[in-house]
Symmetry: D3
Subunit: 135 residues, 6 copies
């Protein structure tokens, strides 16, 4: 399990970020930061402190809208399927319906092209299938 | 002014799309379709019929969320500044606050990089400045 | 098998699109639309009605040139390998020679960079190998 | 005017490339290589020797198809408008009709998104307007 | 002039970042953060605190190599010309020779395509011309 | 094994390129050119003659800086993971430390977004793991 001992004592920003990560992305976010601990622990820390602590925890836009905006962007960014899946999980986690996720991805065909939208739908299918079969 | 005579009688989809374009993008959307009438009238028609009539008029996701998702995507798609500006206008038109648009664009720095976010903010500045000086 | 019952009666555009899909992309196109039927049936319908019915069935540019243009674009769009493979199949289906497909992909190294061209060639190798081993 | 004296004597590849550049891109290609002579003369030479001499002069795909494939790719590559314009000129120069160029660009909306197709059409409008007003 | 009063007292990270910005990007970096102060002051602060304070001030890779790596990346990221120019200035500021900048940009033609390399050279030409004419 | 018989006698540029490929990319570069020999032998030859012979063998920028610049670019070019891995191997081969590669990739999060940096780190992890387990 992900135990970022080194920083947890030193930094309020880290604790704040970890709480935001827990609330928004839950398991899928932790898996990402955990996967970096051996080769790039600082990148892992920046994701917690900066991405979640400074940015994603900001008010001004609610978590549902935020995650749908991120999903729209990552649908267009072909080649970022692993991160798209993390945020499809996060969106479900903060209360977005599967049908809303599908709707946003398919509407993005207009702006990102149909290949990007198709691959986005395939990522959503994979996440939804996993969640159905999880115990 | 944009007078798509050729299609207005023939197609319910076109009328439906034109109504959606009016409601969502108002003047900025019309300027786009109008600019295509001489060289690519069919592309203009597809934007009305398909983009607005079939896609953007769908329910399932409200117009505010939809426009913020489009803004997130176009922020990442460097080189599409004219279209980003159209959708910043459209977002304001459907009731998104300027502060929410700025918030989404700057949060996208995490996913699209800071250069893309910076250029997105500059597009927003240009649209907001125009609206302030408009009669 | 792909049985788009819901729309086949309702829409001339759908029937027209399905005929174009059959003629241009044959099995590879059907596999795509079929894969969407459960999670995103409307996106599947838009691909048939709009992509094939309204756009790809247009005259003005012959199917051979059209497919080579699509292959050039998708070679540059790293991350769209599944769709590139569909259109390599489609190109072969409308009479483009394998050598012409390879030629276009490798010439695109100039505009999209060698990594994109390399990955395009690997997609072509995969499609050609599949066709050789198919019964 | 572009006078690549330094290389013209030394290299058959350069002469071969220059002939291909003349035949395919005429004035628009020369303007590109000329613009590099002061800061990056070697890049200018590589464009002549490699891009035109080794690659674009290859048979296996005719110049018309080649230029339409390049136009498709550059339509998708937002941010490469100057190069898209060079190849719209080149396409007209090797006998592609303006209507075919417009057709390819607008069909690419499916694969690259409508913003990319719109910006492609605007590039085509600019080239066609210039040619109309040229003496 | 850029006077980020609000944060200068509150944050060691900000002061540290501002020092790094001064050292690395000098005037060109300050112009960027300054341009954001009215519409997106928090993004301006994140650029100072995070981009310069946490990331670009890291040791492990010297400033010369760092700026050449950023230039390579931004050359490929068509549509980020303003930021490419900032980092061409920054590279000159940390002691990279103009010839090295040109060399890296033109070599990137292999990986990003010639259009991206060409536009990169044009950005370099613009920065170098400005510096020559500056008092 | 890669035996480019057809060209080795005919071309000094090919021999020069092959020597550069050996020196810079060693086994990983050879695997790439070898994988193209059956379907696209000319692309294989251009990689040797042009990419390695004309471009990557240039002085003006040392091999270490060159490979780190290429790694930065390919980190941003999502979808080019196979080529990123080749150049991570090449960087190690010309004397770049693993820690420097990780450092450049994670700093690129600022310019290419965190998803691109994450996928870059995963590519580095894969190459480093392979090297550890190689006999």
């Amino acid at each position: 399990m992900f135990q970022p001992k080194a920083h947890s004592a030193a930094s309020d920003r880290f604790r704040h970020g970890l709480a935001a990560l827990e609330q928004i992305s839950a398991g899928s976010g932790k898996a990402v930061t955990g996967s970096l601990m051996e080769t790039a622990p600082d990148l892992s820390r920046f994701i917690v402190e900066f991405c979640y602590g400074d940015i994603l925890s900001r008010s001004g836009i609610d978590n549902r809208t935020k995650e749908l905006a991120i999903i729209a962007l990552l649908t267009a960014k072909t080649g970022a399927a692993p991160q798209l899946k993390v945020h499809i999980s996060a969106a479900l986690n903060v209360g977005v319906a599967a049908s809303e996720i599908i709707e946003v991805i398919q509407q993005m065909a207009i702006y990102a092209g149909f290949p990007a939208a198709l691959n986005g739908i395939f990522s959503a299918q994979a996440v939804l299938a996993e969640q159905t079969t999880a115990p």
